[in-house]
Chain length 404, copies 2
C-alpha cells in the first residue's frame, strides 16, 4: 500500500471510528451512587457542607473537587492542524482527541472548550470558566493572537500553556539536545536556522535562548536566525514594527545581522528547524550548511524536505513530525508530563524553568541517543512520569509551586 | 440518632468522600488508544478528515463528536441550594454532583461550567461555549436574572433549560396530577396557592397554566394565586412594574383579584405549593383551606410546614423535598429524562409540550398513586426512560425535533 492509499485508509477508518462511538470521551462518576446515603454524600444535602468549606477558602477546591486534576483544552479553531481557520465546531474532534491523550498519558481529566465566536474576548472568557479547571491548555489558535492570549492569562492563578508553542518547543529542544549527543556536536557552538515564525517558531526560538536556565547541562547556542515567508528576520527589515512578536525575534536573534532569503540563512548553519510548509528546503540549501548538519523538517504531513533527500544532500540526522520515519518530533511527548508536573506542584503557571526541565527530562529519557533514535515513542507512558517529576521539581525550585 | 446528628454525620461523610476522591467525576476515553494505528484514527492524521466533514456540515458534530450526548451544567453560583450567592468556586461540588447524576440516571456526559464573574455577559458566554454541547442545563442562578438568561438562550439551536425552574415545575405538576388521583380531586377544579415567586414558583405557575397542551388528559386548573414575601401578587400591587416576571404572574394568575397576605390567599384553597422558606405555613392557615387539602411544602431542609403539623390541621396529602418523609418531590426525578429525550430527538429547544409530556410520563409511572406514594424514588432508573420516551415523542409531534 503506498502512502496516499494508506492515508486514505486512515481517513476512512477515522470517520468510521468517530461515527461508531459518537465522539471519543465520556464522563464517569468516581464515587458510588447506589443508595440514598450515597446520594446524600455526593449530592444534597451533604454537598452543602463541601460548598461552605470552599466558600471560606477557595483553595479547598483543589482538595474537594475535580479542579485538582482537570485541564480545559481551549480553542477558537483558528489554526487547526494543517487545516487553518475552521472554527470551533470543526475543531471539536481534535480537542476531544487531545482530551483522551491527556487521560491516557497523564491521568488528567481534560475537557474540550471550543469557542464559537473567535472575535469574543478570549482571555476574559477563559478567565471566567477557570474555577473548575486546574490548568488551561490553549490549542490551535492562530499567531500572533495566540501570544497575546497566552500572555493575558498568565496571572489567573492556574497554569496556562499554548501547546502548539511550548509543547513543540520543549520537544524540539529535547530532540536537539540528543541530536547533538548522537552527532557529537557541542550545543553551545550551534548555528541554528528556524524556518517559520508562527506559534511554534516563536516559542522554539525563545526556549532555545532559555536553555541557560540549567547551566550545569549546557549553555545557549551560538546564534539563531529566524526566517518567515519574507526571508530572514532582522532589525532593519521593513514592516517589522507592526508585529510585536517578530520585533522581539529580530531583537533577540541574528547576532550577525544577516539578511536575505532562507537560502542565505542556511549558509554555514548547523541545524535547520522547520515549522513552516512542505518542500521549502532544497537539497542545494542543505549543501550550504556546515558538515554533518541536523535537519528537523516538521511541516505536516509533507515536511520541508523529505528525509531521503536531506540525507542525500549530506544531513547527519533527520527528524520529522511523521511516525513513518525515524525521529518523530511530536508535542504529544511533552504536554502530558508538563501538565502532570504542573498540577502535582499546584503551580500557578508554567515558567521557563519548568519547560527547560521538561526538555532535559525528555532528552535524558534516551540514555544513548543515536542518529536514528533521539526520542522515545509517543506510546511510551513512562515518558510522562519522567517529565512530570522534573517539571514538579523545577516548579518547586523556581518558587512557582504552592502548598495547598 | 436524631435528625440534627444525622445531618452532621452526612456532612462529615460528604467532606470525607470529596477529599478521598478529589472530586466526583472523571473523563474517560471510549475508543482504543493502544497502538500507533489507534492514535492515527482518534487523533492525527485521521482526525483531520473528521474536522473537514464537520467544517462542511456543522450538524455532523452530532454524528462524530461528544456533542450528541453532552450537556453543560452552567452556573454563576448566585443561588446555590439554600446557601445563596456563594460564587462559582463554591458551587463546583453541586455542579459536579449533578454531572454524575446525569450520567447515572440518563447516560448523559455532563460537565460543570462555573462562571467566576457573575457580572459578565452570561448568555454570550454560554453561546460561545455551545459547540461541544448538545444541551445546556442552567443551574442555581438567582431570579429574576435566571429568566432573562434562559430567554436569551432559547435561539442557540440546542436545548437550554434552567432546572431549578422547569425540573421542579415538571415534578410538581406530576406530583399534583397524582395527588388528585390519590385524593379523588378534579384537577380542573383546583384552586392553588403558590408560595414563592422565585425561579421555581414562577415556572411552576406557568407550567400549571400550560397543562391544557395535553387536553386528552386534563384541563387547566381553576385559579392560581401566587404569594411572595409581600403577600398576594395582584395587578394593582405597588412596585410590580419594576419586575417584568412578577408582572407576568399578576397578569396570568389570580382571576378573582385577591389581595392580602398568604393567610388571606389560603382561604378556600385546595392546594398549597411552597417553594419559599421554613415554617411560613401555619396550621391555622391549613385549616382555612378547602376540605382534604393537598400540601406540597418543599422548602429545604426545613419545609414551610412539617408533615405532622399539616396532617394535624387536616391535610389529606403532604409532600416535601425531603427523603425522610413520604412523597419526596425532587427535580432529580425529571431532569435526566427531559434532557435524554431532548438529546434523542435532536431537539432545538425544550418547549412547553415537552415539559407537560414529561410531567404526565412521570405521573403515569405510578399506576395507582396513594396518599403516601405519588412519585417514584429518585433511585429508580426506569423513570428516566419513561420520561425520555415521552419527551422525545412530544418533541417530534410539536415540530421541535430535527433530522440530523
Amino acid at each position: 500500500m503506498d502512502q496516499e492509499e494508506d492515508r486514505n485508509a486512515v481517513y476512512r477508518e477515522a470517520l468510521q471510528l468517530h461515527e461508531q462511538y459518537h465522539g471519543k470521551l465520556e464522563i464517569r462518576s468516581k464515587v458510588p451512587l447506589e443508595t440514598r446515603r450515597d446520594l446524600s454524600r455526593a449530592y444534597t444535602p451533604g454537598v452543602a457542607e463541601v460548598c461552605r468549606a470552599i466558600q471560606k477558602d477557595r483553595n479547598l477546591a483543589y482538595r474537594y473537587t475535580l479542579k485538582r486534576n482537570s485541564v480545559a483544552i481551549v480553542t477558537d479553531g483558528s489554526a487547526v492542524l494543517g487545516l487553518g481557520n475552521i472554527g470551533g465546531y470543526a475543531a471539536i474532534p481534535v480537542m476531544e482527541g487531545k482530551a483522551i491523550l491527556f487521560k491516557k498519558f497523564a491521568g488528567i481529566d481534560a475537557f474540550p472548550i471550543c469557542f464559537e465566536d473567535a472575535h469574543a474576548d478570549f482571555p476574559d472568557q477563559v478567565r471566567n470558566i477557570a474555577p473548575v479547571f486546574g490548568g488551561i491548555n490553549l490549542e490551535d489558535i492562530a499567531a500572533p493572537r495566540c501570544f497575546e492570549i497566552e500572555e493575558a492569562l498568565q496571572d489567573i492563578g492556574i497554569p496556562v500553556m499554548h501547546d502548539d508553542q511550548h509543547g513543540t518547543a520543549i520537544t524540539v529542544l529535547a530532540a536537539l539536545l540528543n541530536a547533538c549527543r548522537a552527532t557529537k556536536k557541542q550545543f553551545e557552538d550551534l548555528h541554528i536556522v528556524v524556518c517559520g515564525a508562527g506559534a511554534a517558531g516563536y516559542a522554539i526560538t525563545r526556549l532555545l535562548r532559555c536553555i541557560g536556565y540549567n547551566p550545569d547541562v549546557c549553555q545557549s547556542v551560538r546564534d539563531i536566525v529566524v526566517c518567515d515567508t519574507q526571508g530572514i528576520i532582522h532589525r532593519a527589515r521593513k514592516g517589522l514594527y507592526s508585529n510585536k512578536y517578530k520585533f522581539i525575534l529580530a531583537d533577540e536573534t541574528n547576532r550577525a545581522g544577516r539578511s536575505g532569503t532562507l537560502s542565505d540563512a542556511m549558509e554555514g548553519a548547523d541545524v535547520f528547524i522547520g515549522v513552516s510548509g512542505p518542500g521549502v528546503l532544497t537539497e542545494e540549501m542543505v549543501r550550504r550548511m556546515n558538515d554533518q548538519p541536523i535537519i528537523f523538517a516538521m511541516a505536516n504531513p509533507v515536511p520541508e524536505i523529505m528525509p531521503d533527500a536531506a540525507r542525500r544532500a549530506g544531513a547527519a540526522l533527520v527528524g520529522t513530525g511523521r511516525s513513518d520515519y525515524p525521529n518523530q518530533i511530536n508535542n504529544a511527548l511533552a504536554f502530558p508530563g508538563v501538565f502532570r508536573g504542573a498540577l502535582d506542584a499546584f503551580a500557578a503557571r508554567i515558567n521557563d524553568e519548568m519547560k527547560v526541565a521538561a526538555a532535559h527530562a525528555l532528552a535524558n529519557y534516551i540514555p544513548h541517543p543515536t542518529r536514528e533514535h533521539i526520542l522515545p515513542t509517543i506510546l511510551d507512558r513512562e515518558v510522562t512520569r519522567a517529565i512530570a517529576i522534573a517539571v514538579k521539581k523545577a516548579a518547586i525550585e523556581s518558587g512557582c509551586s504552592r502548598d495547598l
